[in-house]
């Protein structure tokens, strides 16, 4: 009798345990640099609610972190093998360090039609050493954004925006008054400094690196050096850029634009969402064009944000479910419409919702010749956040030494590129 009761109790406990295990939801942490951004809040809440409903056994826990602390927090957690399962980080650096899990198996396990939603070029930007480490989710194509009212006040024709540097400088001078500056030169300590610098270098047909990323050519490529000098002179010689360039980042740039202290900014579509939130009077009062260029079809920067899975993630299948879900066309479109984050799926461009948004259409048009960013090297995080920033700051402070400063940058960065 006693044995029977014990067996029964054991069976009951086992069954209860199994049921509990079956019902116990798996909790996955999700960290990106953008979860705290106001323009993304409504989408994030809706996305999580609908995912939860569709997948009651998977619970997603967002990890809010300020943009500038995102990488530090991720690296610290990754070193302790405690990184959030789902992350969006610089793929080459994170993959090289072993922080990310290759996703090829998951990706290739999906239907072909689904796989085809991403072009090879877009996928390549989320690969490291021929393995896929992230599903490209959204991006930002850098264009030149203007304040229509200020352009009109300056007597300029918004229908005929600057196409080359000379025209841009003419506009910049006309847009600079006692009360405002035309633009900003970004030299603050984030990689936005590098993104913008690259748009200028590429707009002149220059190259900052050789093809296989083994050599930096900021100074050795004359077209590159010419572009750097023209761009920095906007602040150091022409007086058309707001003061304090060495402290100006994305935040300061968008604040100045929202306060109508500058008339134009080199930024992505999300920058437009940010300035409109900061100053609703700008709604409908901005327009975008391709960055002025000295050569035909000059590329601009298209940043790419990919959803990755950490190498320490204990539930990669569930994490992949979330990655797939958040990259469905519905969410890609919502991100574009609400947060102004450009979709990277190639099956959205022709949708009527995209076609009906003239600015989104314009950004997509500008993006036709864009090059993906970050550049594919594991040292990219340091090069883009430290080395290039320091050179830009030095050249802003001592413009007469620009050649020497960028020659040293070439030397230092080339050494780093080959130290991996």
């Amino acid at each position: 009798m006693r044995t029977t009761l014990t067996l029964l109790a054991g069976a009951l406990m086992g069954a209860t345990g199994l049921t509990a295990a079956a019902q116990e939801p798996v909790t996955l942490q999700w960290q990106t640099a953008n979860l705290t951004e106001e323009q993304f809040q409504p989408i994030m809440e809706q996305l999580l609610a609908e995912f939860q409903e569709a997948n009651p056994n998977i619970r997603i826990e967002p990890i809010p972190v300020a943009r500038k602390d995102h990488w530090t927090k991720f690296v610290t957690a990754a070193q302790a093998r405690e990184a959030p399962c789902i992350v969006s980080v610089q793929v080459p650096t994170a993959a090289y360090n072993g922080y990310l899990m290759p996703l090829d198996e998951f990706y290739r396990g999906e239907p072909e039609a689904w796989q085809n939603a991403w072009s090879d070029e877009v996928l390549a930007a989320a690969q490291f050493e021929d393995e896929l480490y992230g599903l490209p989710s959204w991006g930002g194509i850098y264009g030149e954004v203007y304040n229509s009212d200020l352009v009109e006040k300056a007597g300029l024709d918004a229908n005929d925006p600057p196409k080359n540097w000379n025209e841009y400088l003419e506009w910049a001078k006309a847009l600079t008054t006692e009360e405002q500056w035309a633009t900003v030169v970004i030299g603050g300590p984030t990689d936005t400094t590098t993104r913008i610098l690259l748009t200028w270098i590429w707009s002149n047909g220059g190259e900052a690196f050789n093809e296989d990323m083994t050599e930096a050519t900021f100074a050795s490529d004359p077209k590159s050096l010419e572009a750097i000098k023209f761009y920095l002179a906007l602040a150091t010689e022409e007086g058309v850029a707001a003061p304090g360039a060495t402290t100006i980042n994305y935040l300061e740039q968008t604040n100045l634009f929202a306060q109508q202290k500058i008339a134009t900014m080199r930024n992505a579509y999300w920058g437009v969402a940010k300035v409109v939130i900061d100053n609703p009077a700008l709604e409908g009062n901005v327009f975008v064009t391709a960055p002025p260029a000295q050569v035909e079809n000059a590329p601009t920067v298209a940043t790419l944000t990919a959803d990755s899975i950490s190498s320490n993630c204990e539930h990669p299948e569930e994490a992949w479910e979330f990655v797939k879900f958040s990259n469905e066309p519905k969410w890609a479109l919502l991100r574009a419409q609400v947060a102004n984050w450009m979709p990277l799926r190639n099956d959205l461009a022709e949708l009527p919702e995209v076609q009906a948004d003239p600015m989104l259409k314009e950004f997509l048009e500008i993006g036709r010749t864009a090059r993906t960013y970050p550049l594919p090297h594991p040292a990219w995080a340091e090069i883009s956040q430290d080395d290039v920033v320091k050179a830009v700051q030095e050249a802003l402070l001592e413009p007469e030494r620009t050649d020497e400063i960028f020659q040293k940058l070439d030397k230092d960065v080339t050494a780093k590129l080959n130290d991996y």
């Binding site: 070193q79 090289y96 360090n97 300590p189 060495t246 995080a381 340091e382 430290d386």
Partner: protein, 308 residues
């Protein structure tokens, strides 16, 4: 029971009185020692062992003292050490001079004594990162209150990028650190001032000593020991300073404010070179230990510098 089977516990209880008391002492301090080992000795050991590896993310290889050779041969380290020493020496001197001045003032004030003490202590009570963010906005080139006030007062004609020009940036972070660090020194000095017997001032006064002479011959000798100890403590604290500079400038522009702790952080998290970052940490520790040795020597009973 054979001799070899006698347990430690038996030994303990059979020990003579004084020895037993000593053993008791070891047992009592054991939890504290274990805690210190866990939170200080182990991390330090781990940091030292990290400094012997070339680390790239989750991959590492033993390189012995190569990181030390690399860091010591790197201009960035020596530049950063120079910035650290400049920052620390200016801050410590200003903390002391202003802190002592304010303490003398507060020691004489009769009305609103408590209100003034709390007011002067406020900067010290605010978390450093928060005060740094407040100062970043105050010093902001285009919208900052400092530029606005200076411009309205006619002291500047163009906007100053306080954190964007190397000398101004170093000056700004020093100013903020002084603003934050003075109250602590002021508090120590005030305690010291209140411990000076009034009779000494009365005697000096009877001998015809004026305020300055009283300060030089009564106040300073009485505070001498406290000044040395406070300065040494302040030096140890300031040379490790990270938060204010990390928030305000991140070490820039052009490394002009990159003190050693900020260099360490940038090497680890921007440069992805944890081994080298740990090496910088160990070298910084040696520097701090050198100052700590001076401090411990000063605290020794019968130290020649003892005055108050």
């Amino acid at each position: 029971m054979a001799r070899s089977e006698v347990s430690d516990v038996d030994v303990f209880w059979r020990a003579p009185g004084l020895r037993r008391e000593r053993l008791y002492g070891y047992y009592f301090i054991a939890p504290a020692v274990l805690l210190l080992v866990a939170i200080i000795v182990f991390p330090l050991g781990h940091a030292f062992s990290t400094s012997l590896y070339r680390i790239r993310g989750l991959r590492s290889s033993f390189v012995g003292f190569d990181n030390y050779a690399k860091v010591l041969a790197d201009d960035a380290f020596w530049h950063s050490l120079g910035v650290s020493l400049t920052f620390t020496s200016i801050c410590v001197v200003l903390h002391l001079v202003i802190g002592l001045g304010l303490a003398l003032l507060l020691n004489r004030v009769r009305a609103f004594k408590t209100v003034l003490r709390i007011a002067f202590l406020t900067p010290w009570m605010v978390a450093p990162a928060i005060s740094a963010i407040i100062w970043v906005w105050l010093l902001e080139p285009q919208f900052g209150v400092i530029n606005y006030l200076l411009r309205e007062a006619g002291l500047i004609t163009t906007y100053q990028a306080w954190l964007g020009i190397p000398n101004l940036a170093l000056g700004s972070v020093i100013a903020v650190d002084v603003w934050r660090g003075v109250p602590f020194i002021m508090l120590l000095m005030l305690a010291g001032l209140q411990g000076i017997p009034k009779e000494q001032y009365e005697a000096a006064s009877l001998d015809g000593a004026g305020s300055l002479q009283q300060f030089r011959h009564v106040t300073l000798p009485n505070l001498r020991y406290l000044i040395i100890v406070a300065s040494t403590l302040d030096l140890i604290y300031t040379i490790r300073h990270f938060d204010i500079i990390a928030v305000m400038t991140g070490g820039g522009p052009v490394d002009s404010t990159e003190v050693l702790p900020v260099l360490l952080y940038n090497t680890a998290f921007h440069g992805n070179r944890f081994g080298e970052a740990a090496t910088i940490g160990v070298l910084l520790l040696i520097l701090v230990l050198a100052f700590s040795a001076i401090y411990i020597r000063l605290l020794k009973p019968g130290s020649a510098t003892e005055g108050a």
